[in-house]
Symmetry: C2
Subunit: 358 residues, 2 copies
C-alpha cells in the first residue's frame, strides 16, 4: 500500500478562509513535508468558478511548482479534463511537467461533471465521454508518435511532431478517473489504463464490484498482472485525541457539503443521459446526511487516532485488495497548516509503516 496526499481546495477567500496565495503557499509547504516524510504522491483536482475546487482551474500549474520544490514525490493530476483543453496544449503542458519533475508525473484524466463548467467552455455535457476518450488517446499518441496526423471527431491536425516528448517512456502512467461506472472501469482495464476511483460516492459493495470488473478486464486483456495501479482517496483527520480528529472532520466535511451543494446546484435543472444519477450525486457524495461516526464506520472518511486509522486501513486493504494507493485528502484549506502538518507527521510515523507489506 502506498500513501499520497490529495489537495482539494474548498475555500473562496472570504469569511477568513485562506486567499489563493496562502492556499498555494501552504500546499507547497505540505508537499515539501510529504516529500521529506516519504509520501508517494501529491494529487490535485481541476475545477472552476466555485469554492468547491475552484482554486485549481489548472492542476498542472501548481504541480510544476511542487515538482520544483520536491525530489521524490510523484505529482499527479486528479484529474485533468481533456474536454476543456485542446489536446496539443494539454499533451504539451503534461510533457513539460513530466520533464520538470524528472519523470515523476502520473496523469489522471477525467470527464468532469459540473454543468456550469461545460457551459462556460461551450461544450455539451452529452459530448463529455466522447471528448474524454478522444482527448486521452490524442495525448498518448502526441507523446509517443512523430508526424502524427489526427482525424478525430472534435479535433483534426497534423502531421505534427509534439515537443517536448515526456521524460517517462513510452509515456507517463495514464489513469482514468471514475466514480465506479462499470463500463468505464472495464474499458480502462482493457486499455491498460490505471484507475483513480472516487470511492466516496459508492457503497463498499459497489466499489468492490467496480474494482473486480477493472482487474478482470486488465488481466483478460493480457496486461501484466500486478502492474495495474488503483488510487482511492479518503478525507483524513488524524490526532492523538480522537475527539479532536472527529471535530476537525465534522467541520471540514460540513464546509465541503455546503460548497459542493452550490457547485452542483445546476444538476437540479440539467439532465444528461451521459450522467445517469448525477442529479442525486451531491447528496450521495456527502453521505446522504450521515454523521461522521457513520461515515468513518463505512470507511468513507479516515478519522481518529493513529490506532483508529490503522484499523480502518486494514479493513480497506481487506475490502479492496493490497497494493492500492491511498490518497489522504488533507488540504481543503479549511484547517490551519500546522494541524495538517501534525496529521501528516503522525500518519508517517504511526500509521504508514504498518502497511509496508500490503
Amino acid at each position: 500500500m502506498k500513501f499520497g496526499i490529495v489537495f482539494f481546495p474548498t475555500v473562496g477567500g472570504t469569511d477568513g478562509e485562506p486567499t489563493p496565495t496562502q492556499y498555494y503557499d501552504d500546499g507547497l509547504h505540505l508537499a515539501e513535508l510529504a516529500d521529506e516524510l516519504g509520501y508517494f504522491q501529491v494529487k490535485l483536482v481541476e475545477h472552476y468558478f466555485f469554492d468547491y475546487g475552484g482554486y485549481s482551474p489548472d492542476p498542472i500549474t501548481f504541480l510544476a511548482a511542487v515538482a520544483a520544490r520536491t525530489r521524490r514525490l510523484r505529482v499527479a493530476t486528479g484529474a485533468v479534463i481533456p474536454a476543456f483543453t485542446h489536446p496539443v496544449k494539454l499533451a504539451g503542458q503534461l510533457a513539460m511537467l513530466d520533464n520538470i519533475s524528472g519523470g515523476r508525473l502520473d496523469v489522471g484524466f477525467g470527464r468532469a461533471f459540473l454543468p456550469d463548467e461545460f457551459a462556460a467552455f461551450g461544450i455539451p455535457l452529452d459530448e463529455s465521454r466522447a471528448r474524454f476518450e478522444e482527448g486521452v488517446e490524442a495525448c498518448v499518441r502526441l507523446w509517443t508518435e512523430d508526424d502524427l496526423t489526427w482525424n478525430g471527431t472534435f479535433h483534426q491536425f497534423g502531421p505534427v511532431t509534439m515537443l517536448p516528448k515526456p521524460a517517462q517512456l513510452p509515456h507517463p502512467p495514464v489513469f482514468v478517473a471514475s466514480t465506479g461506472n462499470l463500463d468505464s472501469c472495464r474499458i480502462a482495464g482493457e486499455q491498460g489504463r490505471h484507475l483513480q476511483l472516487i470511492a466516496s460516492v459508492a457503497t463498499r459493495e459497489k466499489v468492490q464490484e467496480a474494482l473486480g470488473v477493472y482487474r478482470r478486464a486488465w488481466a483478460d486483456a493480457g496486461h501484466p498482472a500486478g502492474t495495474e495501479r488503483i488510487d482511492l482517496t479518503f478525507p483524513c483527520f488524524l490526532d492523538e485525541d480522537r475527539e479532536t480528529a472527529y471535530r476537525q472532520g465534522e467541520y471540514v466535511e460540513r464546509k465541503m457539503s455546503e460548497k459542493m451543494a452550490s457547485a452542483v446546484s445546476a444538476w437540479a435543472t440539467v439532465k444528461s443521459d451521459q450522467y445517469p444519477g448525477y442529479d442525486r450525486m451531491a447528496s450521495a457524495a456527502i453521505g446522504n446526511g450521515a454523521g461522521i461516526d457513520e461515515r468513518v464506520k463505512e470507511n468513507k472518511i479516515l478519522a481518529g487516532t493513529p490506532d483508529d486509522v490503522r484499523a480502518q486501513l486494514t479493513e480497506i486493504a481487506d475490502w479492496y485488495g493490497d497494493g492500492i494507493t491511498v490518497g489522504l485528502s488533507v488540504h481543503s484549506g479549511q484547517l490551519p497548516r500546522a494541524t495538517v502538518e501534525r496529521a501528516l507527521r503522525l500518519f508517517a510515523e504511526h500509521v504508514a509503516p504498518a502497511f509496508a507489506d500490503r
Copy 2:
C-alpha cells in the same frame, strides 16, 4: 534600466542537444542564479512542434516551477497566445501563477505567427488579431469582475465568477507583444497596455518610430507618465575575451537561423493580409544574412566583453529611452550551462550597475 533574462529554447534533443529534462533543469538553475544576482525578470515564450521554441508549449507551467524556486524575480510570459487557449483556462492558469509567485507575474500576450501552430489548433490565421483582442480583454475582465457574462465573437459564457483572482490588484501588468506594427503599438498605448517589442526584426529607426507612437498614445490617453513599461529582448554573449563571446554568438545565431527556417517554412506557401510581410520575416529576423559583427554594430545582438556590452547598452538607452527593461536572451540550450552562468555573473557585476540611473 532593468535587466531580465529570456529563455528561448532552440533545441530538439537530438545531435547532442539537451533533452527537455536537461533544458528545464538548466533553466531552473539559471533562474535561481538570476534571482540571487538581482535580475529583474525571467521570460519564456510559447511555441509548438519545432526546435524553434518548441520545448515551451506552455510557458506558465515552467514559470510556476521558477516561481517556486525564486523569491524576487518577476516571472513573465513572452508571450502566451490567447488564440490557442480558452480564456477561462488561460485566465485561471495565469491567476494561479500570479498567486503561486506571490504577485510576481507580468503577462505578455501575443498573436502568434507560425502557420503550422494555427493549423494544429484549427484557428484561421486571419482571425489572429480578433482572437488576440478578445482573449486579452476576456482575461482582464475574468480577473477583475464577478458574475461576468461574456458575449464575444469566439467565446460566450457566464455569468461566471473566476477563481482564483490574481494576487496583484486590479490584475497583473498586461503586455502586448509586437513586432512593431504601428497600429498595434498605438492601440496598446491607448489601452494602457505595456509593450514587449521584438526589436530584432526592425531597424533602429523603425523601433524608434514604434516606441514614439506607443509613448504618445499612452500619454494622449491620459495614462500616468512614466508608468508604461517597455521590454526589449537581445541575444547576449558575454565573456572576458571578445573573440570567445563572438564565437558563441555566431554558433548560437547560426543554430537559431537553421531552426527558425524550418519553423517558418510554411510562410513560403501561406499568405494572410493579417500578417503583411511575414513571408519575408524569417530572413529579417536572422539579420538578412548579416554577420555577427554587423548585427552587434546595429545593436541587434549584445556580444563581447563587459566594456563592449556597456557601450552597446549606452547606445540602446540613447536610442530607445531610459527606463526600459532589457531582456538578455541567454538560454537557447545551445551553450553549456556553465557558460551562461559565467555570462550572467559578469553582466551582474560589470555591466548592470552602470545603468542603475537610466
